[in-house]
């Protein structure tokens, strides 16, 4: 164990050393410097406490507020643009068309062009008088713009120039897209859904981790925008593109006020930290991790031990159903073997045949279970969901009675009047959850045709 640790540290030491020497060390140094009046040219540096920060927020430094506002505007404009456009581009590049590799290369190519070179190209393209963009616009009799040279259009223009380099983001989206199992789309086909349903209920939820990652990277990158101001605009016109980092650089290297610039840098660091933190916090409600276990397993367990009774007005699925290569059924799924039973009886999932014919039913069920998640599981409410009317069997927990809103309860409480099922109680639930999880695991191993509950626009943790 110790030996392994030694070699582990030995072999990671280049990275660790690099981090400490070139990142952590300078960071600590700049934090210390931000508390001093360090000016490169001055012989004496003295400790000034939080004076630099006080000066920043005192309102005396107009350019600080100016640059902060402009940078926020830039981030607000660029992050959604980068995410949406690169997602759409990735979707297009993920389509099975001829020459896909060529398109992918073309999209990625600008990312390997040096920033300065691409900035120069954009300067020419956006030139108000001779530029290709304005020439094309005036040829089409569309209004032209002064682009980088007017106060109102300079930030959108800079955003435009950066969108050229979304290749990296697109690649990450493509990786996310190609990681989505085909079965999920097949399940949607079983349900009779089209491209929109696939996009909305499979693709989007499945790439939320990628969106999450790309959003954070885009936020960090956008706050740190510098090259464009340095090369394209020099902060002009009228300081309207004086990005925060450009102002920081100018303070540090033109005015040589390193102490004050360090304070600026730390304020930016805290701002980025804050926004990254916000995104992380909200991520729980919109990012779905397939491997993320607990919620899903518990839901499956919940379904497997028969907490739910489906089966009213099950809408027939009139499609030939293919799942995992086996042609299963024509017509409505419940008609296969258990049509009558489905129509007339209430089943628990445990009773419901888990064979091939149940694929669609199970799928819908899982969807439902997931969709209802915490809410439904706790409150036991009837629900109409994607054509399936499902009753939730009220679950009684210790010390708290769950009442079905639409059903008369008897004096003993909790018994569903029209239920043929035994009451589910907490102890039984607990007794079942763990074995059920194990069962789910094995089923996944051996019964590959079972689509996992993938229709997750959000997933609760447990219930």
């Amino acid at each position: 164990m110790r030996k392994g640790l030694f070699y582990g540290l030995l072999f990671t030491s280049p990275a660790i050393l690099g981090f400490i020497i070139f990142t952590l060390g300078p960071m600590i140094a700049s934090l210390a410097l931000s508390l001093t009046d360090y000016n490169v040219f001055k012989a004496h540096t003295s400790f000034v406490g939080f004076d630099n920060y006080a000066r920043l927020f005192s309102g005396k430094d107009d350019l600080f507020y100016q640059s902060l506002g402009i940078t926020f505007y830039f981030v607000l404009l660029r992050v959604p643009a980068v995410i949406i456009i690169s997602f759409v581009v990735a979707l297009l590049l993920n389509m099975n068309v001829k020459g896909r590799a060529v398109f992918r290369t073309i999209i990625y190519l600008p990312s390997i062009v040096p920033a300065v070179a691409s900035a120069m190209i954009w300067m020419w393209l956006l030139n108000p008088d001779l530029g290709l963009v304005n020439s094309a616009l005036s040829w089409l009799h569309l209004p032209t713009s002064n682009w980088l040279y007017s106060e109102s259009s300079v930030i959108p223009s800079v955003v435009l120039t950066t969108l050229w380099g979304i290749g990296g983001t697109v690649i990450i989206f493509l990786a996310g897209l190609s990681g989505i199992p085909k079965q999920y789309y097949e399940a949607i086909e079983v349900d009779g859904g089209g491209w929109y349903s696939k996009l909305r209920h499979i693709t989007l939820p499945m790439v939320t981790p990628t969106i999450f990652f790309n959003t954070i990277m885009a936020i960090i990158g956008s706050f740190q925008v510098f090259n464009e101001a340095y090369i394209l605009t020099q902060g002009g016109p009228n300081n309207r593109s004086l990005f925060y980092v450009f102002y920081l650089w100018r303070t540090a290297f033109r005015d040589t006020e390193m102490g004050y610039a360090s304070a600026l840098a730390w304020v930016l660091f805290l701002i980025i930290l804050f926004f990254t933190f916000i995104v992380f916090r909200t991520s729980k409600s919109w990012v779905y991790y397939e491997g993320g276990g607990s919620a899903r397993e518990a839901i499956e367990a919940c379904a497997d031990i028969g907490l739910y009774r489906p089966f009213r007005d099950l809408r027939p699925v009139h499609h030939p159903v293919r799942v995992a290569g086996a042609k299963l059924a024509h017509g409505s799924v419940p008609n296969l073997h258990h049509a009558a039973a489905v129509d007339s009886e209430a089943f628990s999932l445990g009773q419901f045949p888990s064979g091939a014919d149940g694929v669609a039913v199970r799928h819908v069920l899982r969807q439902y279970v997931h969709h209802r998640g915490r809410r439904a599981c706790r409150h036991g409410r009837d629900e109409q969901h994607r054509g399936v009317r499902i009753f939730a069997d009220p679950v009684e927990r210790k010390g708290r009675r769950i009442r079905h809103p639409h059903v008369q309860h008897d004096a003993a409480g909790g018994r569903h009047p029209d239920s043929q099922l035994p009451r589910m109680e907490d102890d039984r639930l607990l007794r079942h959850v763990l074995p059920a999880r194990r069962a789910v695991f094995f089923r996944r191993r051996h019964f590959q045709y079972l689509p996992a509950p993938s229709i997750l626009s959000h997933h609760p943790e447990g219930f």
């Binding site: 050393l17 020497i21 008088d129």
Partner: protein, 483 residues
Amino acid sequence: MSRQKKSVSIVIALLIALVGILSACTKSDSGSGNSGGSGSGNSASPANAASSASAGEDQSNEPVTLRMTVWGAPEEVAAYKVAIDKFEKKYPNITVKLQHIPTDYDTKLTTMVAGNDEPDIAQMESASIAYPLAEQGKFYNLEDFLSSDPAFKKEELVPNITYSLEPGNVIGLGPGPETFGLFYNEDIFKDAGLTPPPAKAAEAWTWDEFVDVAKKLTIDAKGRNAADPAFDPKNIKQYGVNIGTWWGNYSNFIYSNGGDFVSENGKTFALNQPAAVEAIQQLADLINVYHVAPSPVQAKNIPATNIALQTKKVAMAIDGQWSTAGLAQSKFHFNVGVLPTLKQPMTTVVSGMFSMFKSTKHPKEAWALMKALLDPDAAIDLITAGTWMPAYRSWYTDPALLAKWTENLDSRPSGYKDAVVDVLLNSSHQTPTGYVKNFNKIMDIVNPALDKVWLGQQTAQQALDSVAAKAQAQVQGRRDVKE
């Protein structure tokens, strides 16, 4: 478990120790050099060093290495090398290491200063970090060398190329002045049947005459000129004049009109005073009222002066005399006239400078090198090519020497002697960067306001009044006024 933790903490401690060692050993050699500079260098008065420099051209023969940083185009660097070779031949014990920093010069030099790794001599720019450095006492006062060196007379230098922190504290010497002129394409004037701009300051165009000619030389896509009522200002093929909207260019006209950047006592922001406002407004009117000059946005399409004149994108251009180097290489008939005047003929003299860092261990040798760099003979290639002008007055007044660099050269057209040489000697003004304290911060406030003036969104009076209070807060006085 605890053993594991222990070994981890040992490894981390070792890493941190290593970092400490690495960061501590950066540039220890120059660190000691600096301590010599700030400590003993200060106490040993530069005057002593200078007097000993003057006392002995017979310097000791121990080997000395001087480091010098410069910016500039390759041909300028080549000229420096010629001067250095000559210098090294004269002083065999001195080796000069020339460090060429073509881009981000200020950033690089700032970093060198922060790392206690200053060169001995550096080319400096008065508009950027020269004065901030000088204010922190990083430079030798060259006055001590100038006054005590019998082989060198300050009066020998042409006016306005010495830079002083305050009266009596010279921090830099320009290797040569640069003035502004009105460059033009002779063929355009010939074709239009107009008289070209006069070369002699006494005959300089008044502003109205200038505007009149500029109008006739501004041609739209259909061939009409700006004096024509049907003239289309949106499709201009040839501009009458390119004025360039940076402070170097417009300062000429502010001085010509009797204005200034700050008041005479250095206490008041003066760009919003009538004389300066009028000059700036006149220039802005060329763009927005008469449509004879490109706005800053349109000027992005105007190439360098030599190409712009050659390709007839502009008929006249207000530019520094350094552009003659490029003009000489573009084979067409260009000439130079004196700038139009508002009240009196006047040109601003701008120039880089050489400064000596106090951290140098060899002030005598560094001073000798600086003198060698000022010597027009050493830089004759640059001077005849057009980039530079000589630093010594005798090269302007002695006909033989004057002929050396103004006659029979592509870079020196017929109007040059009158429009550039005479104007420099008789009616030149120091660059505002040389005497306005805190110039950068003032201009940080003024420039954005002037952007609006050039674009015609505000009048000069409105724009400058709107920032006057803020600019006034940055006014810290004049360097040529003893406080």
